[in-house]
Symmetry: none
Amino acid sequence: METKTFSENPPAAAGSLKERQRQERVELILEAAEEVMAEKGYYEMSMDEIAARVGIAKGTIYLHFPGKEDLFIALFKRGLTSFLSGIARIASQPLSATERLKLILMQAYDEHRKKQSQVFMAVFSGGNMRKETVLKQLQMREYLKELASYISKILEDGKATGEFDGSIQTSVMLTAFLSLLNRPHYEEMLGEASFSAEELADQVGRVYLHGISGK
Amino acid sequence: METKTFSENPPAAAGSLKERQRQERVELILEAAEEVMAEKGYYEMSMDEIAARVGIAKGTIYLHFPGKEDLFIALFKRGLTSFLSGIARIASQPLSATERLKLILMQAYDEHRKKQSQVFMAVFSGGNMRKETVLKQLQMREYLKELASYISKILEDGKATGEFDGSIQTSVMLTAFLSLLNRPHYEEMLGEASFSAEELADQVGRVYLHGISGK
Amino acid sequence: METKTFSENPPAAAGSLKERQRQERVELILEAAEEVMAEKGYYEMSMDEIAARVGIAKGTIYLHFPGKEDLFIALFKRGLTSFLSGIARIASQPLSATERLKLILMQAYDEHRKKQSQVFMAVFSGGNMRKETVLKQLQMREYLKELASYISKILEDGKATGEFDGSIQTSVMLTAFLSLLNRPHYEEMLGEASFSAEELADQVGRVYLHGISGK
Amino acid sequence: METKTFSENPPAAAGSLKERQRQERVELILEAAEEVMAEKGYYEMSMDEIAARVGIAKGTIYLHFPGKEDLFIALFKRGLTSFLSGIARIASQPLSATERLKLILMQAYDEHRKKQSQVFMAVFSGGNMRKETVLKQLQMREYLKELASYISKILEDGKATGEFDGSIQTSVMLTAFLSLLNRPHYEEMLGEASFSAEELADQVGRVYLHGISGK
DNA sequence: GATGAATGAGCATTCATTCAT
DNA sequence: CATGAATGAATGCTCATTCAT
C-alpha cells in the first residue's frame, strides 16, 4: 500500500536514496524517542535528549515531525501498528479462539516488545497525556478500532463455536481483555515476584477464560 | 499552676473555628486539584490554575502544602484512603467472597468516586509521574499494600471455602482484579456506549469469576 | 532627653506602662533582627524568622516598623548609636589622640559588639544593600557624619599637638581609619589564625600610626 | 576523504567564528551583569534585567551559565583575575617593595577597573552573599590565596631589604593593606570631595607606609 | 493592640519551537 | 538539508505586606 504522494520536491523524484536515508532518520528518532519515553514518560522526554541520543541536532527532529506531540503520535502509531501486525498474524492463524487469545496475551507480555507496548499502553491507561492531544488525532481512533475489531472478531468466533459464553456482551469481554493486556506493574509496587511472560500469560489466560471460581 | 486544658496550642486541635476553616480550605484545594488532575494529569496541573479554580491566591496553596508533589501525594492518599475505607467496609461484611468482590467492583465503577479513583489509578497505571516521586513516599506503598491485603484476604477466603480455584496463584488473581478495577476508558475511545456501574460490575464480575468460556 | 511628643492616643497619656512595654517589644525585635542579620545578611533575613525568634506574630513587627527596610534602618541606627556612644566616651577622655584612636580600634574589634558593628559595617562596605535604600534615609548621613566628626576631631587634635602628621589630609586619615575599623574577615577566607581584639588593635594601630616602614 | 583540519569539534576551539561570537556573548552578559551587580548587589540583580540590558532573551543567559550563582562566580573570577593579572605584572617589576605597593594601590583605585573590583570586593566585605555560595567554590579560595601571596611576597621582600618593619606580622600588614585596597565610598556618604586615583593612592600610601604620626 | 491567613508581585529556571547560517 | 543558538511563554515557589478577626 503506502502510495506516498509526497514527492513533489523540485530536485528529483525523491528517488530511493534520499528517501531511504530519510526513513532511516525517522526510524532512529523514533527509536530514541521510544527509549526516552519508556524511561521517563512523555513529559520528561525532552527533544534535546532525543536528539542527543540519535546524535543529530534538535532542529532536525522538526524536519521530520512538526512537534513533540506529533512525534509522540508517530511513536504511538508505530507501537500500535507493530502490535497490530502481531495480532493480525495471530488472528489469522487456524487456531481456536482460545488459542489465539492466549497467543495475544503472550505477545503483550513479551519483554521484547515491552517498550513499544509501553508507549501505547500509556495512552490506554490514561492520565499520561492530555486527552485532547491523543484524541484529536482521529487516525488513532482508527488504529484502536482496528485492534478492537481483531479481538472482537476472535471473541465472536469463540462465541460461534461455543468456546465462549454467548451471554456475555462482546464489548465487555473486549474491555476486560484489553485491561488484562497491560502487563501489570503493581508487581513492582507490591514487591511481588515477577513472572515470566509465559507463566503470566498462562495464568492470566486461565483467569480470563475460566474465571477464578472453583468448579 | 498552669492548668492547661486540652486545646490551647495553635498547631494541633486549635479549637474548632480556625481548624474547621483550615480543613475547609484544604478540602477546597484538594477538590480543585483533583479536578485539574483528572482533566489534565499531573504535569499540566498548574498551581496557578488550582488557585484560580478555588478562587484564592497561589501563595495560599503553599500555606497548606509544601509543594506541588506534596499536594499530589495528599490527593493520592485522599483518593486511596477513601477507596480503602469503602473496601474495608465491604471486606468486613458477612458475605461470600464472591459477593464482596462484586461490591468492590461496583464501588470502583461508581461514577461518584470516579475522579478520586482516577488520581490513584493514575499512579497504578504508571507513566504518569516520575516514579521516584511516588515511590519515594513510603507511606504510599503502605497504603497500596493495605489495599492489596484486603483483596488478597477475600481471595484467600474464597479459596478456603472452595468458592475460588485454589490452583491459581493469589497474586495473579489479585493482579488481574486490580487491572479490572480501573474503569476502562477504551469505551470512550472506541465510541462504545457506556454501561452503568451496576451493569459493568455485573458483567466484568462474571468474566472475572467464571471466565468467558462457555460451559 | 528623649522628649517624645508622640503620645496623642485617646486612651491615656500613654503613660509609662504601655510605653515601656512597647519599647521592650521594639528592643526584642531589634535584637532578634540583629541576630538574623548577622547570621544571614539583609536579604536572607525574613520577617517570619524574626517574628518567630521573638515569639510574636509577623504582623506585630509592622506595628513597630513600617517595613523591612525601616527595620533595617533602625537596626543600623541602633548599632551606630551604640558604637557612637562608645566613641563619644572615648573621645572625651583626657588621653592623647593616639591613645584614643587605639581605644576606638579596640572597641571596633571587640567581639562583644561584633553583631552590632556588623550591621552598620555592612553598610559601609557596600554591596550589601540597595544603595538608595540606605542613602534615601537622610538621618543616616547625619549619624555617619557624627561618627566622622568625632574621629576627625581626634585626628585634628593629634595634628595640633604634633602627634600626627599635619601634611596628610584629615579626610584621608579618616577614610583609612574607617577602612581599618571593619574587622577583617579575610582571615577566615585565607585560613589565617585569628587574633584577639587586643592583639589586632595593637598591631593595626601600629601600622596606622607608624606605617609599615622600617625606620 | 574527510580531510578534517584541526578544528572541527563544536565544544572545543570550534574554529574561530562561532567561538568568537560565543565569547562575545559571554562577555556582553558579564558586562551587563557586572553593571547590575555594581548598582544593586547580588540579590537585586535579576536575570531578567541582565538579559534586557544585553538585549537578549532570558533563556540565552542559561546557554552560557548554568544559573545565577554560576554567573556570579564567573563575574567574581573575571574581576579577580583581571585584578590579579595587574598585580602580577606589578609584582614582577624591578621596583622597590614600596613602589610596588603604591602601584597596586593605584590600580585598585583606578576608576576604570572600579566595577570589576566592586564585584570581588563585595565578596571580601561579606554580607553580600550566602557565604556557602561563595566559599563552596574552592577555586575562589585559590584565587584569593594567590592575591594574598603576591602581596605577602612584596611585604616579605620589603622586610628583607629593610624597607619594612620586621617586627610587624606580615599577616597584619596584609590584612591592613587589603582593607585599604577597597576604595572607600564613605566619601560619597560623607559628601567629601573625591580624590583622583593618584592622589588617593599617594596619600593612602603614605599612611600605610609611614603612619599618620608626625615624626 | 495582636494575630497569622491571605495576597500577589517577583524571580530563577526549563524547554518546545524557530530560523539565520 | 542540517544545525544549534536564541527565544519567551510558562511554571513552581518565596516573602514582604495587608487586613479581617
